[in-house]
């Protein structure tokens, strides 16, 4: 052995300093350190690459924007037709002066990307079912389930179809091409260090923008606003409850409804009368099928308020238009505020990063606002496949081949997932044995989905026209291409015209069609035709005798005399309070409207409190409980931040609902839809012996007084707990956030001191609320105010990330400055960007 070693030592040249071993060790250690610092850690792949993330020349430090950064500069944009100038005010709101609509779109694309790139791309990834690509499959495969849901619903195919339609319109094509070029002009010059923070956190890079991404964003909004239904839950309820109970829990219309078009309007006979299939009773209404699959649903409270007031009711004699769309209060905000001036128009308002144009706003002649129609335009069909391959389905008496599609879903850190989806004549098969949605229960059924937003359409063309509308006819014309998601478009102009139209293409359904999963074995259950556009509900203020305002708050648009079936899933309370306040108000000023948009009065509590107080048995209460009851009794019914009343009411009411409904509802594990609060309240007000009050699990027959008292006694300990934890006041209990899209609390604004709630005009909930409050008085010089819970910059390292949030929470507004051509030297202009070709 020794000899062998000597031999090797002899052959190998002897190193001079004997440092080869330490060299190799330190080389190994240092290289190892660099390798470790140059990769992502953690299962969720949500951690950044430590080395580059910490490097002050590459990582997050580069996103720490110096306070007082100069945003001025000159930009060369190849393909720009003329010159453009952008004047930023002190809030970083850009006032764009462009030579044409296409140039305006070009510059808007550039600005959106400059300030909101990560958000706009992330939203289109969500729309296209590509979250797993950047976030991994997620806990319990939640991102993968989400991606499959979006793709199976047909988001991508719908966006492609809409893109084709958009590009057939030469104006839309030109505008989208310009917008896309603007976004790409920003992306193409980005260095690693310039990437928005979130790319560094998640370790990926932006890809080139495309017109398809614009279409995807538009479809994302369609999903958010017209992607909700309770078809599975209602199917289960119909099979689980008796006919009488079902009618009690899910009535077609609420007594206290105050529809968008006031009651008493005469409607013409329907242009089309859909006919229920002959088999409707046996195969549909009385078919006791149940569904275990579970849908992905958009936020239930995606709603909004808007109203417009005739000059007859305002102090200035000019109309006032108000709008506050209720969406998730995300950071970066869904909105980006701007002014766009071209030779043809001068529009101001908020835009969607991800799409061109001002979406909600006003120009020199008119103002417009939007709320969601909440109409049900998504239905399911029960599909019978021949075998497990799902290549053939039974339709109209024969086996018909399905169109098969394979979706390729890339997953960060895991193997690519291939999802096979069958498409039938009735729509894509959203649920099948390989996909039960968010349910863990295996099912051998298949359901195809028919969704209005999957039809081709060009909604952007409506907004393109809105930029330059001059009067009611222009507005009506602009709405002709708007199909989905159906919206209530409120309108007012400087001539004094005020109107509201519920616009979109809605299927004409026979009564009860699509309320439950429908039989999918023949074509008799398809949507037969659309409601003609001129039959959509609308209202124009024109006579001295009318009420002097139009309004909407997602309630049912019409009363039961409207000749088409609408379904029954509409909230009613915000509409009630809006109409009550406006009816009682005259000589209205913008300041009145600020007060009204931020009004915290809870009309639901107003209607429910007498019932609760009348039925509680005070003799059962101890001192502490009595004290809470007195607080509730003396509460002014405003959900103001410091009030305890709203907390007591929220707990008491939800416990009462449990007391009344849980005994019946917990007899099944099937998903059921909780009845509307208004349904239960109206039932109890009408009938103190409502059959559900009795607990079916006890021999005795409970009274309303018993369940009300019991519910109150049950919540007293919860209230005491909250009092100890300083959560007994409303704002602290509700805990409103402006929440970062990645749901990181550190990048969010938490614990905002704001009141309101789901039934208030100020509909601020925990992660959701008035996403843009706007008031426009159409005097000869427009007077407008606005605020949104965010800031113009999407960069968490910018002082402009959360500029408006505190004002928003406090109910303060900013005057919206429509910069005139001769105001370029105004002291409100902080920075100027020049664009050249």
């Amino acid at each position: 052995m020794l000899r062998e070693f000597e031999k090797i030592n002899y052959i190998w040249p002897k190193p001079t300093g004997m440092r080869i071993v330490p060299f190799l060790i330190s080389l190994f250690l240092t290289t190892g350190l660099i390798v470790c610092l140059n990769r992502q850690w953690g299962d969720l792949k949500k951690t950044p690459v430590p080395g580059s993330f910490l490097s002050p020349q590459h990582g997050f430090w580069q996103n720490a924007e110096a306070v007082g950064t100069d945003f001025s500069g000159s930009v060369t944009l190849p393909g720009l037709a003329g010159k453009g100038d952008v004047y930023f005010d002190e809030y970083l709101v850009p006032h764009v002066y462009a030579n044409s609509e296409a140039d305006a779109c070009y510059i808007q694309g550039y600005l959106h990307a400059r300030f909101r790139l990560w958000q706009m791309e992330f939203q289109t990834f969500a729309a296209a079912g590509r979250l797993s690509e950047v976030l991994g499959a997620g806990k319990d495969n939640s991102y993968l389930k989400y991606d499959r849901a979006m793709r199976r619903l047909g988001m991508v195919t719908a966006a492609q179809a809409s893109l084709a339609e958009m590009e057939r319109d030469s104006n839309s094509k030109k505008d989208c091409d310009a917008y896309t070029a603007g976004v790409n002009a920003w992306i193409s010059q980005l260095k690693e260090s310039d990437l928005p923070l979130e790319y560094k956190l998640l370790n990926y890079r932006p890809e080139p923008w495309t017109n398809l991404k614009i279409a995807l964003f538009v479809k994302y909004m369609a999903y958010d606003l017209a992607g909700g239904d309770n078809d599975f839950e209602m199917t289960n309820a119909k099979s689980f409850f008796s006919k009488e109970d079902f009618a009690k829990l899910y009535p077609a219309i609420q007594d206290s409804l105050d529809p968008i078009i006031p009651k008493g309007k005469r409607f013409l006979p329907p242009g089309f009368v859909p006919k229920a299939p002959a088999t409707a009773d046996s195969l549909y209404f009385n078919n006791p099928i149940t569904v275990t699959d579970r849908e992905l649903k958009p936020e239930k409270s995606n709603g909004s308020n808007n109203w417009a007031i005739s000059g007859r009711k305002t102090l200035s004699k000019a109309p006032i238009l108000c709008n506050d769309p209720h969406l998730s209060t995300n950071l970066p905000s869904i909105w980006f505020q701007m002014q766009i001036h071209t030779p043809d128009y001068n529009a101001y308002g908020v835009s969607f990063p991800g799409a061109p144009f001002i979406i909600i706003g006003f120009n020199d002649n008119c103002a417009w606002g939007i709320t969601n129609s909440e109409r049900d335009v998504r239905d399911y069909y029960n599909i019978k496949f021949k075998d497990e391959s799902r290549r053939e389905y039974w339709f109209n008496g024969a086996w018909k081949p399905a169109v098969m599609r394979v979706d390729t879903i890339k997953i960060k850190g895991a193997a690519t997932y291939y999802d096979t989806v069958a498409t039938t004549d009735l729509g894509p098969v959203m649920f099948d044995p390989t996909y039960t949605g968010y349910s863990d229960i295996a099912s051998n059924r298949s359901y195809a989905v028919r969704w209005k937003a999957a039809d081709t359409s060009n909604e952007l063309s409506t907004f393109s026209r809105f930029q330059s509308i001059r009067n009611y006819n222009d507005y009506k014309q602009a709405l002709q291409t708007f199909k989905c998601p159906g919206q209530n478009f409120v309108f007012a102009d400087k001539e004094g015209e005020v109107a509201i139209r519920q616009e979109g293409i809605f299927p004409a359904k026979w009564k009860g069609q699509g309320l439950y999963v429908m039989p999918g074995e023949d074509s008799s259950y398809v949507w037969q035709d659309n409601i003609a556009r001129d039959e959509n509900p609308y209202m124009i203020l024109d006579t001295a005798g009318d009420r002097g305002f139009v309004s909407s708050a997602n309630q049912e648009p019409v009363d039961s005399t409207y000749p088409y079936y609408l379904g029954s899933d509409f909230p009613i309370y915000r509409g009630l309070i809006i109409n009550r306040i406006l009816n009682n108000m005259n000589s209205i000023t913008p300041a009145d409207m600020m007060k009204m948009q931020t009004d915290n009065f809870d009309v639901f509590a107003e209607m429910a409190r007498p019932l609760l107080l009348k039925n509680i048995d005070r003799s059962k209460l101890d001192d502490k409980a009595t004290a809470y009851l007195n607080t509730f009794r003396q509460w002014n019914l405003f959900n103001n931040p410091g009030e305890q009343g709203p907390v007591i009411f929220k707990y008491w009411w939800s416990q009462l609902l449990k007391n009344i409904l849980d005994d019946e509802f917990s007899k099944t594990t099937l998903d059921l839809h909780t009845p509307h609060e208004s349904t239960v309240l109206e039932a109890l007000l009408k009938d103190t012996a409502w059959s559900f009050i009795d607990n079916v699990n006890t021999p005795e027959k409970e009274t309303l007084g018993q369940v009300v008292t019991d519910a109150f006694l049950k919540v007293v300990p919860l209230l005491q707990q909250d009092e100890k934890n300083d959560k007994i006041t409303w704002a602290k209990n509700k805990d409103t956030w402006a929440r970062h899209l990645l749901r990181l609390p550190e990048l969010s604004r938490t614990h905002l001191p704001i009141g309101g709630g789901v039934h208030c005009i100020n509909a601020a909930k925990q992660f959701h609320g008035p996403s843009w409050r706007m008031i426009v008085q159409l005097t000869s010089k427009t007077e407008a105010y606005g605020v949104y819970p965010g800031g113009q910059s999407g960069n968490p390292g910018s002082p402009y990330y959360d500029t408006f949030i505190d004002s928003w929470a406090a109910g303060r507004y900013y005057p919206l400055w429509v910069m005139a051509e001769d105001e370029t030297k105004d002291k409100r202009v902080k920075w100027v960007m020049h664009f050249n070709k």
Binding site: F23, S26, T30, N38, S55, Q57, W61, E192, L747
Partner: protein
């Protein structure tokens, strides 16, 4: 001593220039090459590389943070998790870079000595 100071200056300066155009780990290449070309005792080399990057990254981070009023660093220090301490975040930044710089420098010095 002069070689030591020159090494620190060279590593910091060249790392800064490379950082403008090249990936973050070029600090290691710079520290490696400088200490291979300017012979120092291994531990001195380590110290030179360590101090050079500590000062460069720490100084840059501190400067950026001053101009930003700690808007971002406070958030990142809460995510990382450093309890929201901006000073800790700057020190961690400087230390991580310094460790790479020191390791690369001592490796370079061994190479020199090994020749």
């Amino acid at each position: 001593m002069i070689k030591f100071l020159v090494s620190i200056l060279l590593i910091a300066l060249l790392s800064f220039v490379c950082g403008l155009f090249l990936p973050w780990w070029t600090i290691a290449l710079v520290a490696f090459l400088v200490s291979a070309l300017i012979p120092l005792k291994p531990l001195q080399s380590f110290l030179a590389g360590f101090l050079a990057i500590f000062l460069l990254w720490g100084g840059l981070a501190l400067g950026i943070d001053q101009l930003n009023n700690s808007i971002l660093s406070a958030k990142i220090a809460a995510i990382l998790p450093l309890g929201g301490s901006v000073i800790a975040l700057i020190l961690v930044t400087a230390f991580v870079g310094a460790l790479v710089g020191g390791g690369a420098a001592i490796t370079g010095s061994f190479l020199k000595a090994a020749r």
